[in-house]
Amino acid sequence: MNRIKVVNDLPEIISSDDNIEITLLEKNELFSINSLRIKVKKNTSLEIEYYSLKETKLDIFIKVDEDVKFNLFEMREGNNTKVQYKFYLEENSETNVTKFYDVTSIKEMVIINLNGVNAKLNYNFKTISEAEEKYDMIVYHNYSNTVSNINNNGVNILEGNLIFNVSGFVLNNKKDCVLNQNNRIINLTDNKCQINPNLFIDENDVEANHSALIGRFSDEEMFYLKRLGIDEANALNLLIKGFLLNDISKKNQSKIIKIIDKYWR
């Protein structure tokens, strides 16, 4: 298991194997941005723990080589982060990204380049939003037969103001690509949240689906739980926990449960 700990904008490699190269580039003093370059050469996993206590900027470049399967799990806590992720996913590679954020105020840009035939991305993002949070995500299907499954889930609380901008691009002659976008925000405030799902497709042979939902849990879901004598508060807790833990592996759930319990115990 490869592990990186980032405190503010300073990454520290806790452990790494030979399947991955992790390089910290020299800081761009003009823009005050640190950069982390990660090259995945063989099948492996990486865990990033990110704590930010002051305003920070960080660029992370991840390249996944041909025929490689890569799992990335990131947990982020703290405030005021501006992070840019750039993924370059090569032919026949499969990248599974799971991210859980509990931060106050964040702007994040994620750019994904599916750079080879059969490159596949499964992206599962969860956040508890209690201040301004804006996530821009762009997925370029630069080759045929590429697949992107994007799942963004957020629970908006307190002074939260959560925005997901998600765009998928397929160029002409890049055939048989699959684009799935599923974005949902549970808004427990009267504040405004936004989901802007975009599919820019210049090719006929494409399978594309998107769903975007902002609101509270449905009456049917609440009724189904209350029907067993579970009161409003506990029913809501169960649904929030389920929403944030869904599709998270057992291994990573315990850390996330500790965070969820801070808010909804």
């Binding site: 009456d219 049917e220 879901e221 009724f223 189904y224 739980l225 209350k226 029907r227 067993l228 004598g229 579970i230 009161d231 409003e232 506990n234 029913a235 169960l238 649904l239 926990k241 389920g242 929403f243 944030l244 833990l245 869904n246 599709d247």
Partner: protein
């Protein structure tokens, strides 16, 4: 001894009356079957008993042990001992069956809740219902077949040990073997706990396993005929349409 009495209940949803002056009384140890064609108010009845806020009571009352429950919320009614097994159990991803049941039991039992007896009972019931043991760690009804969902409703009933049970088309989506398992387990629960039992169904096949003391036919939001098990056979033979015609004829005669 417990009882559920529905008195002259008129219910509407989206300005459409579904139940009209509906009456029924169910006591502990009695099995009532409600039968009727689609769209006559059977599922509405089950949801109104449980307190679904989407339905508006225009007139009448629902009494449990002599006290009106119409002002109580869904969870308050459940905590009195009323249980609804649903026709179309929802899938709720991420909330495991174990968490769901543990939370419900914890609230019901309070300080007397203990994890080990809960797990023991859960495992035993899963075995009786011939369910997959791993289902307990999956999301509620997530990836379940129609039959598994219905068995999951019966599992919930067993765990909660309600006093008054309403089963809304618990037989739909069940194959022959699952129907037998569900029917047998409902009857085992009934024999042991003697709850009042209201079974809503279209078909005789479920009532071959769950033998009702009383059978009621509901048409257009009200009970038009009541009888014993022989009424089920009459429906199977003649259909609802003929029963309705005869009943209306009888009603006409009796009014004269």
């Amino acid at each position: 001894m417990h009882n559920l009495i529905i008195k002259n209940l008129t219910v509407e949803i989206e300005n459409k009356k579904i139940l009209k002056d509906f009456n029924i009384e169910i006591n502990s140890g009695e099995i009532h079957a409600i039968m009727g064609p689609n769209g006559t108010g059977k599922s509405t009845l089950s949801k109104v008993i449980m307190g679904d806020p989407n339905y508006k009571i225009i007139k009448g009352d629902i009494l449990f042990d002599g006290k009106s429950i119409t002002e109580l919320s869904v969870d308050e009614r459940a905590r009195l001992g009323i249980f609804l097994g649903m026709q179309m159990p929802l899938e709720i991803a991420g909330v495991t069956n174990a968490d769901f049941l543990r939370t419900a039991l914890n609230i019901k039992q309070g300080n007397s809740f203990s994890l080990m007896p809960f797990i023991k009972k859960l495992n035993e019931t899963i075995e009786h219902l011939k369910m997959d043991k791993n289902m307990i760690h999956r999301g509620i009804n997530q990836g379940f077949s129609g039959g598994e969902r219905k068995k999951n409703e019966i599992l919930q009933m067993y765990m909660l040990e309600p006093l008054m049970v309403v089963l809304d088309e618990i037989d739909s989506g069940l194959d022959v073997d699952s129907l037998k398992t569900v029917g047998k387990n409902v009857m085992d629960y009934y024999k042991k706990n003697k709850p009042g039992l209201l079974v809503i169904t279209h078909y005789q096949r479920l009532l071959n396993y769950i033998k009702p003391d009383y059978v009621h036919i509901i048409i257009d939001g009200k009970i038009v005929k009541s009888g014993d098990f022989s009424l089920v056979k009459e429906i199977e033979k003649n259909g609802y349409e003929n029963i309705t015609k005869n009943d209306l004829y009888d009603e006409g005669k009796s009014k004269k």
